[in-house]
């Protein structure tokens, strides 16, 4: 029997992977070929999806991008033996885009069957939990603190400090909440983990539960990710059946329960306090802080709220130790960040790397420049609330502090590329419009400021009192930045002001000095 791999990742599916898998199975059956198709996660080289990998004596040989109509030809030319074909790519792990990554969190994604517990165990799964079960809670937290891990959701708060706060908060009930409401444009690493290696998230949450004494976890998943929901629920069921979730985990006497909850299409619910309100069954209105969720969180109890990638990075830290993880990265940005290349880029995909590589390396050496072949003009890093960078800033290293120094954010690692046809006044207007659409409405600067922001930009572009309105826009941005309750209103000025400062000619203003 020959094993073949065709991804079940949403992006692969969006390009026809389902039809490829179906056609492969049908044609192999009609030819009497003995094959088994494993539906793996994606390797993240999305310009090559749908990808077909074949297990041969020379290792896993890849072909791509494969469409259903290519299948017959592939089988005829010796697909099952890994023979040459125009779509032949060789061993995918040898391609520079893959080979030069530091895959710690994504180590198994694309390699294994995402919902097979046996496969997970065979590829170092649950080794972190095994270590954690043998440790006092404070030692687990210490490993996470030592690793230097900072929240990968965007705010970059040190994870160990957050955990320590919850550990020391006395309560009869505590919660672990996974923020799986990845709504930033250009980001898809959470989705890829949940679809491609859901057990690593489950393991990370279980370890978090042991670390702080929480017995119940929730994954708050955005409704736009139906495939992730299926994979998570399949993996959770397998974990329960095999004693990795529930009462008396692996005979340790410890308990951890886990459940997936669906969001309902509100971007603001990616903000941790809105998310908690939503989990409680209410409108996702931002809460005042303090009290911090670590002290008064879900249902009023001490709660860890962490992003998917933060929690999914925990198993490798507990497996190999905090120091191992800390050895990657630069400055105060330790470990790896799964970077996501999207928008107008030739080689879009996921690239997990240690902090410190430059944006330019990523855009050109790996991304291959723009998809349209035109010059790259503006790059938005960190989602819709992230700044637009111009060519002169592409040599900035990917590091939280280096980005902060140029009034930008790394956020969740999403990178959206625009070529020179982009109208940056339009993008600035869109940033305000998005805030109008998604503001929870609790605070005035965000709720009303964004509406006025759209109007002021329209007046600037429409050449009405240009100087006065430009000054007004800056004032408004200042108010939103300083007066908003959360990052929605507080950071919308980042894309707006960066567009205005770096690309003033698009607003009909004098060009910026080089």
């Amino acid at each position: 029997m020959t094993r073949l791999f065709v991804s079940r990742d949403s992006t692969a599916l969006s390009l026809g992977a389902e039809q490829v898998a179906k056609t492969l199975q049908e044609q192999a059956s009609s030819k009497g070929l003995d094959i088994q198709i494993v539906r793996n996660g994606s390797r993240g080289l999305f310009w090559l999806e749908p990808l077909v990998e074949v297990e041969t004596t020379q290792g896993r040989v890849a072909y791509g991008p494969v469409q259903a109509e290519d299948v017959a030809g592939l089988l005829d030319s010796g697909l099952l033996e890994g023979k040459e074909h125009p779509l032949y790519l060789g061993n995918i792990e040898e391609l520079p885009y893959f080979k030069n990554q530091n895959r710690l969190t994504f180590a198994r994604v694309g390699l294994t069957d995402p919902v097979s517990l046996d496969d997970y165990l065979a590829h170092d799964g649950y080794r972190g939990l095994k270590n954690a079960l043998a440790m006092p809670a404070a030692d687990i937290v210490k490993h996470v603190t030592d690793s230097g891990l900072r929240g990968r959701g965007g705010a970059a708060f040190p994870t160990g400090i957050k955990w320590n706060t919850v550990l020391n908060a006395p309560a009869e009930q505590k919660y672990i909440v996974c923020n799986a409401d990845e709504g930033d444009s250009g980001t898809f690493s959470d989705r890829m983990i949940m679809e491609g290696d859901p057990f690593v998230l489950i393991e990370g949450m279980t370890i978090a539960g042991l670390a702080v004494g929480a017995t119940q976890g929730y994954i708050y998943l955005r409704v736009e990710y139906p495939h992730a929901k299926v994979a998570l629920n399949q993996a959770i069921a397998a974990a329960y059946q095999n004693g990795y979730l529930g009462e008396n985990i692996q005979g340790s006497g410890k308990t951890f329960h886990l459940e997936v909850r669906s969001g309902a299409g509100a971007y603001i619910c990616g903000e941790e306090t809105s998310l908690l309100e939503s989990l409680e069954g209410k409108r996702g209105l931002v809460r005042y802080k303090p009290p911090l969720p670590a002290i008064v969180g879900l249902f009023g109890k001490p709660t860890i709220v962490n992003n998917v990638i933060s929690l999914a990075s925990v198993p490798v830290i507990l497996d190999k130790g905090g120091e191992f993880y800390k050895d990657y990265g630069m400055g105060r940005s330790r470990g790896t960040l799964p970077l996501q290349l999207a928008g107008n880029i030739k080689h879009p995909g996921l690239f997990e790397a240690a902090f410190g590589m430059t944006l330019r390396e990523l855009l050109y050496d790996y991304g291959g420049g723009s998809a349209s072949g035109r010059p790259i003009r503006a790059v938005q890093v960190g989602g819709p609330l992230g700044a637009y960078l111009h060519e002169g800033q592409f040599d900035t290293p990917l590091d939280y502090e280096a980005f902060a120094a140029i009034s930008a954010v790394l956020g969740h690692g999403g990178i959206v590329v625009h070529d020179d046809t982009v109208d940056m006044a339009d993008m600035a207007r869109y940033a305000m419009e998005f805030c109008v659409e998604e503001s929870c409405g609790k605070c005035t600067p965000c709720r009303i400021g964004s509406t006025r922001g759209v109007e002021v930009i329209d007046r600037i572009v429409g050449n009405i009192d240009k100087d006065k309105n430009t000054a007004l826009l800056r004032d408004l941005c200042d108010t939103m930045m300083c007066g908003s309750l959360c990052a929605m209103g507080g950071m919308t000025p980042y894309p707006v002001l960066s567009a205005l400062n770096h690309f003033p000619e698009d607003f009909g203003l004098p060009a910026a000095k080089a």
């Binding site: 949403s10 992006t11 599916l13 969006s14 390009l15 999305f46 310009w47 999806e49 990845e182 709504g183 930033d184 444009s185 250009g186 980001t187 898809f188 959470d190 989705r191 409704v223 736009e224 990710y225 139906p226 909850r261 669906s262 969001g263 309902a264 299409g265 509100a266 971007y267 939503s278 989990l279 409680e280 069954g281 209410k282 409108r283 996702g284 249902f299 996501q340 290349l341 999207a342 928008g343 107008n344 879009p348 995909g349 996921l350 998809a371 938005q380 819709p384 999403g414 959206v416 590329v417 625009h418 070529d419 982009v422 993008m427 869109y430 998005f434 659409e437 998604e438 929870c440």
Partner: protein, 158 residues
């Protein structure tokens, strides 16, 4: 509009099934919309009563979230991504083409009730923009031509 009396027992069953779940309002609303296609306004009273909330509170939650709807959708729901990555790959042309072809704007349903059109802000398919979904299936690198083909397949299936 369908008579709520014929749907009431479904709503009551869903309410019953979620009785002891903490933070159960969103799961209940999902359950109702998954089953009935929307959350009938007439159901608000039953939901409020079962959860000991005011009708305003329940209505407030339904109207806060983009995903929930109170009117039945068309046979097929098309969601087109409007976020930055898709814009960088000309999703605006796709939006305009879709609106023109279907003869409706966002949040509307065609007169023959075949299609509803909704905006969506990121499907996590940013590596293959522009993206859209039809009834939950994601499609990447969607050109106006590909849009027409997909619509034709939907119509053929009806």
């Amino acid at each position: 509009m369908q008579d709520y009396q014929s749907q009431k027992s479904i709503v009551l069953d869903i309410l019953d099934a979620h009785q002891s779940m903490p933070g159960n309002l969103l799961p209940i609303l999902h359950g109702i919309q998954d089953t009935l296609g929307c959350i009938p306004s007439a159901a608000v009273e039953d939901i409020a009563k079962a959860l000991n909330l005011s009708k305003a509170e329940v209505h407030g939650v339904i109207s806060f979230y983009h995903y929930f709807r109170t009117t039945p959708p068309g046979k097929h729901t098309i969601r087109i991504c409007r976020a930055e990555s898709c814009q960088a790959m000309n999703s605006k042309a796709l939006e305009n083409h879709a609106k023109q072809t279907l003869g409706i704007d966002f949040h509307e349903t065609t007169a023959d009730e075949h299609f509803s059109l909704e905006p969506v802000y990121c499907l996590g398919n940013c590596a293959c923009s522009p993206s859209m979904t039809i009834d939950g299936d994601v499609y990447g690198r969607v050109t106006p031509e590909k849009f027409d083909q997909l619509i034709a397949v939907c119509k053929g299936a009806n």
